[in-house]
Point group: C2
Chain length 208, copies 2
Amino acid sequence: EGTQAPQPAGSPQGLLAQARGLFQVGDTYIVVETADAVVLIDQHAFHERILYYMLEHRLQSAPLERQRLLMPLPLNLSRAARELALSQREALLEFGFELEPFGPDGSLALTAAPKYSLARKHDEMIIELCEELAQGRRPGDFSTMRKSLVEMVACKAAIKAHDPLSPEQIKDLLRLGETVPHTFTCPHGRPTTYRLAFTDLEKVFHRR
Amino acid sequence: EGTQAPQPAGSPQGLLAQARGLFQVGDTYIVVETADAVVLIDQHAFHERILYYMLEHRLQSAPLERQRLLMPLPLNLSRAARELALSQREALLEFGFELEPFGPDGSLALTAAPKYSLARKHDEMIIELCEELAQGRRPGDFSTMRKSLVEMVACKAAIKAHDPLSPEQIKDLLRLGETVPHTFTCPHGRPTTYRLAFTDLEKVFHRR
Ligand SMILES: [Zn+2]
Ligand SMILES: [Zn+2]
């Protein structure tokens, strides 16, 4: 224990390698036991942070990789959301969502979906995205829309709170976290990890 | 979740029935996941509290049950500790430790040991007890000695910090805790449990 380099407080870099035990509590937090601490991770905020970083950085170079769906997924959108989706087809394509007119009534279908890891069904996600964007503030210019989309896609695509995770999914998430810097706060500055050092616990239990 | 009666903060009563997950961290703390909290338990302080209560209450009615050892265990005691042991044979017998002269040099052996659950070897424990009592404050009267013994036996017999526990041992300990009231502080008033409610965690992670 004495030879281990100290970790910056709250940084989950290298956590998986340090992990002696990995648990999930409340279907919402990941608990990592290390040699000198218990680290609690807000699974949604942590995953959101990772996806936010990945989306933001990959978009700077090229549109995100997408894969064509075997069958177009028809989208049951409100009129406002459909209009928004149509006007933002180019932005959505950058994120890997390809929309095409479908059927005689002018409705839309999803024909290609992003390759990056998503927690949820692509059609559900794009519907939520478009409805929220249509209901919320005005679309504004393309770069504003892109920023909103980065935030919204990161949030929508991330594992939710109250989602039970298998031990493998927990490991995958920690592994993904290690590919991205500064995962200890989410895009909105909220902490994603909370480190309870054993020295802190000793104080809680009046051991020192 | 809404139907569950609230638990007094830090009370581990009924914890085992409430447990959705049971872990040990740092080989020192038990982590109990319930529907609405993560409860951390200092395994030593918690077990000590239980033993303290059991010893104190059983001694009021009768000496503790003991079992004769198949072979007497010779005790390698200092002169002072042997004298203390000899002068306190009656008190030690109440705790289930039976000492008898052994060998030509006037040394002592343990011939019977208490039946209550002990984490360690009886001969090691009685040696530590007698040496510490001999080194420490004066034995004083019988009731003072009995009080010191209750405290010392509870501490010595309890699971130590840094002892790895199997899942079965964790359950046994929680089950034992449910037979005894007020296990949430140790005999010295130190907390034995620390409840981190999910509503607290929501604040930590700025979820509210
Ligand atoms: Zn979110
Ligand atoms: Zn103790």
